[in-house]
């Protein structure tokens, strides 16, 4: 029992330490995400794979039938590149504007996340880099779902 308590407190201490480390240099870490995603070219391939998985997914592919898919690919790539700390500038519309009228659900959002996870698995992107990208995208949920 005491050993379990020790385990718990050890985990807590270790997490506290790790959180401090994470807080030290956010920009350097974001930049390394850009690197981990394979820089501009890797991100473009990743976004292509993502859209291919989206096209296969019956839960959400109907949202993507009548759109300019090349523009979407380009804007998505720019956005992810910029988010990941790369030398890109996102030139598309904001998230609320681009998803208004679609009435997207939580299921839709999670389906897109799953497509992204599969695409990242295929590109052998590390668990840590996958998590960091997802953590940057999750806060957009409120701007995208239910509009």
């Amino acid at each position: 029992m005491t050993s379990l308590l020790k385990l718990t407190s050890t985990m807590l201490v270790v997490s506290a330490m790790a959180m401090t480390l994470v807080a030290v240099s956010p920009s350097a870490r974001a930049n390394s995400l850009y690197h981990d995603l394979g820089e501009r070219e890797g991100i473009e391939i990743l976004m292509e794979d993502l859209l291919l998985y989206v096209a296969e997914d019956k839960r959400i592919n109907h949202h993507f039938v009548d759109i300019d898919i090349l523009r979407l690919h380009e804007k998505l790539s720019e956005q992810i590149c910029e988010l990941a700390g790369g030398p890109c500038v996102y030139t598309g519309d904001d998230m609320v504007t681009s998803h208004t009228g679609m009435d997207l659900t939580n299921t839709d959002f999670n389906a897109l996340v799953e497509a992204l996870q599969k695409a990242m698995d295929d590109r052998n992107i590390s668990v840590g880099a996958q998590n960091r990208l997802l953590a940057l995208l999750a806060p957009m949920h409120g701007d995208i779902v239910g509009r």
């Binding site: 029992m1 379990l4 659900t105 299921t107 668990v127 999750a138």
Partner: protein, 288 residues
């Protein structure tokens, strides 16, 4: 007494029957709107959670207006006792969960057994496990009854059935320490159950509901494999034997949205006079 057991059995079969037919009604495709592992596993009392603790998460993978369910078999084997649990849960959206659990607790040295049924409901009142700024907050209730009451009565239990209520808060951090996804849960339960109710409810030392704290902390090594610890505070109502808090260290594997497998080391402390009850816990959950 016999009549009571029969009514209990019929009630139980009815509940299981309803749960089973709801599961059959739920189309396999419908219940997949949430991300892997976000329904947790099935706790020993049937509610979605870890192993020992009900969490704020809703069972299975239902989101929006989907419905679905889970069925689970679990076993805890410690030095002198074994707990076997059969459980089923039905869920609607990422909002509501209804669960049933049948527990059999074998006292291996005495050749005796204890039996408890638990019917539970959980409702998510606010927030979300992953999205937005508010953690997922759920309220739940459990109705528990002993379907064999000879031993609980003999050791001083005050009644053979009781209610419990709890509030649970769960939150995941997608990229927490070590860039891993972490999940934390805290639950406050109002209870007067002896050994979670296996030894009845209330006793000579205390016969009123008390607030108990339960907690869990887990880390996902990757999105289908998590390790963590759980802690469950328990009341100490009976003078015949001391009751202690429970703890576990677990590994949970989610090979797909249809299966979850949990293995754990459990420390159940002193039970009915037998000290240092430690051992393993295994749980297999299927989701529809």
């Amino acid at each position: 007494m016999d009549g009571q057991i029969q009514i209990g059995m019929r009630l139980w079969l009815g509940v299981v029957g309803v749960a089973a037919s709801l599961l059959l009604l739920a189309p396999a495709e419908a219940a997949s709107g949430r991300l892997l592992a976000t329904g947790g596993a099935t706790s020993i009392e049937g509610a979605a959670g870890g192993g020992l603790v009900p969490w704020a998460v809703i069972s299975g993978y239902t989101e929006d207006d989907q419905f679905g369910g889970t069925v689970t078999l679990s076993r805890a084997q410690v030095d002198d006792y074994r707990l076997d649990v059969t459980a089923a849960a039905f869920s609607y959206g990422n909002r509501f969960e209804f669960s049933v659990a049948q527990q059999m607790f074998t006292l291996e040295n005495l050749g005796a057994e204890l039996r408890q049924q638990v019917i539970g409901a959980k409702y998510k009142v606010a927030g979300d496990l992953i999205y937005g700024n508010i953690p997922q907050i759920s309220v739940g209730g459990m109705y528990k009854r002993n379907t064999r009451y000879d031993l609980p009565q003999a050791v001083g239990s005050e009644r053979d059935s009781d209610w419990e209520a709890y509030v649970a808060v769960s939150r995941a951090w997608l990229a927490g320490p070590f860039d891993r996804t972490w999940l934390a849960n805290a639950t406050i339960r109002s209870t007067r159950a002896n050994q979670t109710g296996l030894l009845g409810y209330g006793g000579d030392l205390n016969d009123s509901h008390e607030l108990q704290l339960e907690a869990a902390l887990g880390m996902f090594l990757h999105r289908s494999l998590a390790v963590g610890v759980e802690y469950r505070q328990k009341p100490d109502n009976l003078s015949f034997a001391r009751e202690q808090d429970w703890m576990s260290a677990f590994v949970a594997w989610f090979p797909s949205k249809h299966v979850a497998l949990v293995g754990a080391y459990v420390d159940l402390g002193e039970i009915a006079g037998a000290r240092n009850q430690t051992g393993y816990y295994l749980s297999l959950q299927a989701s529809f």
